[in-house]
């Protein structure tokens, strides 16, 4: 989850997010290299005592500074397109969960076998136990089995919301009357936090998303317990 003075992304919890993270590192490194080069040239130009009055053109350097940027762009585009197509791969989910956005809470429905549905409200700050995270904890977490492809269908019951979990690399708008599909795999067990990402009224900042990835046996136990309630 997010931590104070954080500079980069949260630790990846899904294979797609890992790829996105590595791509971001790659693109950012290229950007730093180019920026450093340009800054160096600017400083060098500004601080020299030499002046040059006689060069009018130079085909060689023109070729270099056309081909080299084109090559750098290809170097960025290829991994980018690879990830884009990777995210669009057809997958065969093991579980479908519906995340419905309301003002101002999420409700999760697990209806593949039985009709399991529950609401997930933010825990008020005064009710937090020591060690819990302010404005991020919820009373009921969306529990999923680890290492299983999950399909999440996101929709809303009133206004626009958006279901986002940064460490899983997922963000999907919740539109009333529309069922938006997203899919992911949680590569490791853990608790992953996100927040509503589309302005939806007074408590837009206070309807967090908490996903808990557990081994399959614990998921089955949890879902039986939830059904009994």
């Amino acid at each position: 989850m997010a931590h104070p003075s954080q500079l980069g992304f949260q630790d990846a919890a899904s294979p797609v997010m890992e790829e996105l993270l590595h791509f971001h590192d790659h693109a950012l490194m290229i950007v730093f290299l180019i920026s450093t080069l340009v800054l160096y040239i600017i400083v060098a130009m500004v601080s020299t005592k030499l002046t040059n009055k006689y060069i009018l053109d130079s085909q060689e350097i023109e070729v270099i500074w056309t081909i080299l940027p084109a090559f750098i762009l290809i170097l960025i585009a290829l991994p980018s397109l690879r990830i884009l197509y990777l995210m669009d791969e057809i997958n065969d989910p093991h579980l479908t969960i519906k995340a419905m956005g309301h003002q101002w809470y999420w409700s999760y429905e697990y209806t593949d076998y039985e009709d399991l549905g529950f609401d997930s409200y933010m825990l008020p700050t005064q009710d937090l136990a020591p060690g819990q995270f302010r404005l991020l904890e919820a009373d009921h977490r969306m529990v999923i089995p680890v290492e299983s492809p999950i399909r999440v269908l996101v929709s809303a019951e009133d206004v626009l919301h958006s279901w986002a979990v940064p460490s899983l690399g997922v963000k999907m708008d919740a539109v009333p009357g529309r069922l938006n599909q997203t899919a992911f795999i949680a590569s490791r067990p853990g608790v992953f936090y996100g927040q509503c990402s589309e302005i939806c009224g007074a408590n837009h900042s206070f309807m967090p998303i908490v996903v808990e990835a557990v081994p399959l046996q614990y998921f089955e136990k949890w879902s039986s317990l939830m059904l009994e309630d």
Partner: protein, 119 residues
Amino acid sequence: MKGVLMYLKVFSFPPACILNKMSIDRVVSTDVKMAEDIQAKLEKYRTAPFDARFPNQNQTRNCWSNYLDYHRCQKALDAKGVDTAPCDWYKRVYKSLCPISWIQKWDDQREEGTFPGKI
């Protein structure tokens, strides 16, 4: 990368148009085989599989389509006096995909006679 690719499989099921083409003249053994196939598929059911008719982000039509197909299948097989077990596939799929509130709303509309779809 490998972790993502490991989980990629395509799963397909005969679309609704095949059921609509069933007629009384059809050979009985084909009906029985189809019912057995559907039973086998239902037993192995985990969740709604990938449907090539709805490959993109917007799955609204997928939910709507399966809801309609279930009720049309029920109506058609009831009219013929045949076992409606094959219709259960559509039921499982729409239950997986459609939000509970949408299903309740549509069920109420069907009872009132104000359901907008053609069944």
